[in-house]
């Protein structure tokens, strides 16, 4: 079953064609927490692989690799979005379905840019950071 409508797939292909550097999707599989009731019988790990492999088919610059319980992943399934195959600290824990599929596509597009797209004052502030900063955003599919 296709996971994007035809017009969505066309748009994503256009975005991925403009990537300025390769982006690797490292899919991490492992023991999964029991999800909230209502999630049905979804095999989240298998779906994660299916989604990421399907996205990798939409652009030459996007590749997908699957590992079992790689280091640095506290939750499974998850996908690390890696510009030039490098761990840049960009990760999606859980299956990005529904509305959130757009977040994963957006992350790939952003990771494929050579230059950051933040405002100059944001970049200046981040350059002054003297400590690590962990940002986590909880989301839902709808």
């Amino acid at each position: 079953m296709p996971f994007l409508r035809a017009e969505e797939e066309t748009k994503v292909r256009e975005w991925f064609a403009e990537l300025e550097r390769p982006v690797e999707l490292l899919v991490a599989l492992g023991p999964e927490e029991t999800p909230r009731a209502g999630s049905g019988d979804v095999d989240f790990g298998a779906e994660m692989v299916r989604v990421c492999e399907a996205l990798a088919e939409l652009g030459e610059g996007v590749t997908c690799r699957v590992e079992q319980e790689p280091a640095g992943f506290p939750r499974f399934p998850a996908v690390s979005i890696r510009p030039d195959g490098r761990d840049a600290g960009v990760r999606y824990d859980g299956l990005p379905w529904g509305y959130e599929l757009g977040s994963l596509v957006g992350a790939i597009v952003e990771a494929g840019r050579e230059e950051p797209t933040l405002r100059p004052d944001s970049l200046a502030a981040l350059e002054q950071l003297d400590r690590d900063l962990a940002l986590e955003v909880f989301v839902t599919p709808t």
Partner: protein, 62 residues
């Protein structure tokens, strides 16, 4: 969500993680996730909802 990713891509000091709340109910409960997006900075719940980039910057550095 994308702002957290863009911040991470702009700085080696920053990591940005999206967490699907329904798939990780225990963690979501521990952090009191009742509305999304909920933003957590260095393990501490900070606010709910999307904000513009200047406000996002101000809040994550606060």
């Amino acid at each position: 969500m994308l702002l957290a990713f863009r911040f991470a891509l702009a700085s080696e000091r920053v990591s940005g993680t999206a967490i699907e709340a329904n798939e990780f109910p225990q963690l979501s409960q521990e952090l009191g996730v009742w509305a999304v997006p909920r933003v957590v900075v260095d393990g501490e719940p900070r606010w709910d909802g999307a904000v513009p980039e200047p406000e996002f910057l101000r809040r994550v550095l606060a």
